[in-house]
Amino acid sequence: MGSSRKLLALAAVILLAGLTGVAQGQVRNPDTLIYVSFADPETMDPAYAYDTASSTIILWHIYETLVFFSGSSTGTFVPMLATEVPTVANGGISPDGKTYTFKIRDGVKFHDGSPLTAEDVKYSLLRFMFMDRDGGPSELLLAAILDTHGTRDERGALKPGLFAEADRAIQVSGNTVRITLKKPFAPFMSIMAMWSMTVSKKWAITQGDWNGTAAGLSRLNNPKKPEDTSMFNKANGTGPFKFVQWDRAARQVILERHDTYWRQPAALRRVIVRVVEDFGARRLMLQQGDADIVAVSRPEQSGVEGLPGVRIIDDISRLITDGIFMNMNINVAGGNPDVGSGRLDGAGIPPDFFADINVRRGIAYAFDYTTMIRDCWRGKASAGNGPIPKGMFGHPSGGKWYTYDPARAAAAFREAHGGRVWTAGFRFGVLWNTGNATRACIASVLKANIEAINPRFRVDIRSITFPTLLQQYRESRLPVWILGWAADFPDPDNFVTPFMHSDGTYAKAQGYKNPEVDQLILRARFEPDPAKRRAMYAKLHEIAYNDVTTLYSYRVDFQVMRSWVRGWYYNPAFFGPYFYPMSKQ
């Protein structure tokens, strides 16, 4: 057959192409850095983005903030778009802690060449607050500056007068921006270091974005989907890299060096962020040098260990607290598959099962942290003693916590619910999101531990999809679930609130309400004196130990990259790699 000859020729071409592939040992694409992860960004719009993948790309690469974190510290700042970090001492912060004055740097150019002005900063902050999409990040600034949680009332209409209030709170004179808070708010500087990404006002308006007036707000407010904002797929910032293209079909974003950057232009000419879901392909790309930095999850770690020319940096502290949450008021309306019979008869649990502190203590003593840390985290996590993770201001390093002690666990269970827990036994479900191997492992450990205490104790472990998990725990349907919390900004308030405040995301779902805690959280939030604040958070951790609603742990992460990548460093507040100081050699 003639076609088989053609086929042969084709095979030869492909073979030849293979043989001419780039030889090993030399740096591939020396001026281009390729970062491969497994999550797509949602948007390039700094006021819409609230996911790690988007922030990794835009934050500090395309858009910059007024101040920045100093090295690996989350509590000290260096100036970025502002010329100095405001303090009480230099007059940048008013003595009452309510007014912050930022002097905007001269000579900073946007990617289109136009100069940065204080007006741009004000416009960006207002735009961030008033985009306020459902489930978006705007609340972070709204709460800090205007002490409100949203821009819309119950019926979804814009709150009258709120814009005028915001307009007054942010004053521009010459090249300074003065922000006046409703109440002093200790974490404000951390928030400014992450959520003050500055866009060009003039450029935004020519793109058809918000015109900067109250009249234009209705179009800006609460966009339905990411593509509805004009900056979804465009960018013009001041950062070290320019946005070139986001190809959603090929799942990659291309960034290029900003040559008129206000600091030394970046060493890398190009940064490419790619998404490859399959770990096998990701690993092979790293091995062949087609990827410089890749995201790898803990269970996959041994697949990249020992690869020639690959460096693994471990023990990177993250501002994440993982928890095993116990629900003190389980919602069983309409039936609940995870509480068994719904009674304390050995085949289920009543809705208030975990309301008895002895049950929670029993579980805390039964849980073998050592095994969990060794097998589920490969040793790269530690037992927590409260919501505030290690390495963050306010974390009490000497805080007490429960250690594995089956005898004490048994003693606690014997006391629970008048002794009926011990004699009748129980059965309940532990849930996590499908696909998270670490959490699956944690659930198995918890099950084995609890069931070893008494043969009448039964734990069913079950994974459900991420959306289902979120929905069900929010409705208080899950007896016990495993999830984590990552910082929106590096401040203890961002942890104690969701985990312990009766209105917080997790505590509310768990049915936890302790008036002393609620009060303490509010007082700590507005306390300007760091020493006093620290004492309050230590006190909160002590209550977390006594009330034991959640079993905390703190993880450390690792980063895998080719050894030819230079200049990598990390700060716990980062969402991903910081490309500006990097190079390849």
């Binding site: 057959m1 076609s3 088989s4 086929l7 084709l10 071409v13 492909i14 073979l15 030849l16 192409a17 293979g18 592939g21 694409n29 281009t32 390729i34 797509d40 949602e42 609230y50 996911d51 459902d134 489930g135 978006g136 979804g156 339905k224 989907k225 593509e227 293209q245 190809d247 959603r248 079909a249 090929a250 799942r251 291309i254 190009r270 490419i272 490859v276 879901e277 399959d278 096998g280 392909a281 092979l284 790309m285 091995q287 062949q288 087609d290 999809t465 991420f466 959306p467 289902t468 979120l470 929905q471 929010r474 409705e475 999830l483 984590g484 919390w485 990552a486 929106d488 969701p498 995301t505």
Partner: protein, 343 residues
């Protein structure tokens, strides 16, 4: 024949309507809050879930949503895909050409090897080559395609560095994207576009990236073709005219080439359009493994993430292709089979 085809064409919209109803009936099983969960990427966003449900109309009964959707479809709007980060219609347009290219590239070896092996097996029935072809085709069919895919990836990329994942290498990709090079996407098929733009190296590069997934698809899809070709050939070999040809004393190769194979190809021709349709199902796994930016990878991801507009758009598009493929198969069959042609 014309009326036969006309009847098929008339039925097309009926089937299309049924397909949409079927998909929307399925969606009735989903709780609105679960679907709203698909719009959430971060547990820190949970407070707003009720607002999200209202915003996207997820609390409406499914028939209302169906009606809204159908109206939108007729105005050319298929909705917004959460996973593709673009409108569903645009996503289909973007993801389909690479898949089509992959399918076509895989199709050639499948047909060549399939026809050859099926014929050989039938002619030498119950002899070594028949058994070998049977073992060969059954072996490929007897392991999940993702196992084959991962093995192909390991050997051809990990060991040999021949067939990398993705669609283009970095150099080629940057060249194609750079507006200065004026690389025009005439067809959306990278190999064809590379030749039309006179860039042979991009053609080779694109082919290298197609080879891995195409090889996997070939291994998985060839089995059926071999079997069909074999039984079709066997049937023809038993027909009177072949026996007559043989009894006339014609040489065996002539009998097989001239008389038997030509007629045995009729079901294979119809099968070939169905093979393409089958490949469209196969790409779901292959593209995921090779990180090939086609419609299959998107569809699988959309299903995992409960991206409802994405899943519906993907499934319906694939269904449309299948229906058209079936129609084409019928037409070809009618054209080649004299019994129908003469009706």
């Amino acid at each position: 024949m014309a009326s036969y085809i006309a009847r098929r064409l008339v039925l097309l919209p009926v089937v299309a309507f049924g397909v949409t109803v079927l998909i929307f009936a399925l969606l009735q099983f989903l709780d609105p809050a679960i679907r709203a969960g698909a719009f959430i990427t971060n547990p820190n966003q949970l407070k707003a879930i009720d607002a999200i449900i209202r915003k996207y109309g997820l609390d409406q009964p499914v028939y209302v949503q169906y009606w809204t959707w159908l109206r939108e479809v007729f105005t050319g709007n298929l909705g917004w895909s959460q996973t593709a980060r673009m409108p569903v219609g645009e996503a289909i347009l973007r993801f389909f050409p690479p898949t089509l290219e992959l399918t076509l590239v895989a199709f050639v070896p499948i047909m060549l090897i399939g026809v050859w092996m099926g014929t050989a097996a039938a002619v030498h029935r119950d002899r070594l080559i028949d058994h070998l072809s049977r073992i060969f085709s059954i072996s490929f069919r007897s392991l999940p395609s993702f196992v084959w895919g991962l093995l192909v990836l390991m050997v051809t990329y990990g060991r040999l560095n021949w067939f990398p994942p993705g669609r283009l290498s970095l150099e080629a990709d940057l060249f194609v994207r750079n507006p200065e090079h004026r690389f025009v996407a005439y067809t959306g098929l990278m190999t064809v576009d590379a030749l039309l733009n006179g860039q042979l190296w991009i053609f080779v590069d694109a082919l290298r990236h197609l080879a891995g997934p195409a090889l996997t698809l070939t291994m998985v899809s060839i089995a059926l073709l071999v079997r069909v070709m074999r039984s079709s050939m066997l049937e023809v070999l038993n027909q009177d005219y072949v026996r007559t040809a043989r009894s006339k004393g014609l040489a065996e190769p002539v009998v097989i080439d001239r008389h038997a194979r030509k007629n045995a190809l009729i079901p294979v021709i119809t099968l070939s359009s169905l093979t393409i349709v089958g490949l469209l199902g196969g790409v779901v796994i292959t593209e995921t493994i090779f990180n090939f930016p086609g419609i299959g990878r998107w569809g699988a991801f959309a299903a995992q993430q409960l991206d409802i507009p994405g899943v519906t758009g993907f499934t319906m598009f694939v269904a449309a292709i299948t229906v058209l493929g079936n129609l084409l198969a019928d037409v070809l069959y009618a054209y080649f089979d004299p019994r129908i042609r003469l009706q």
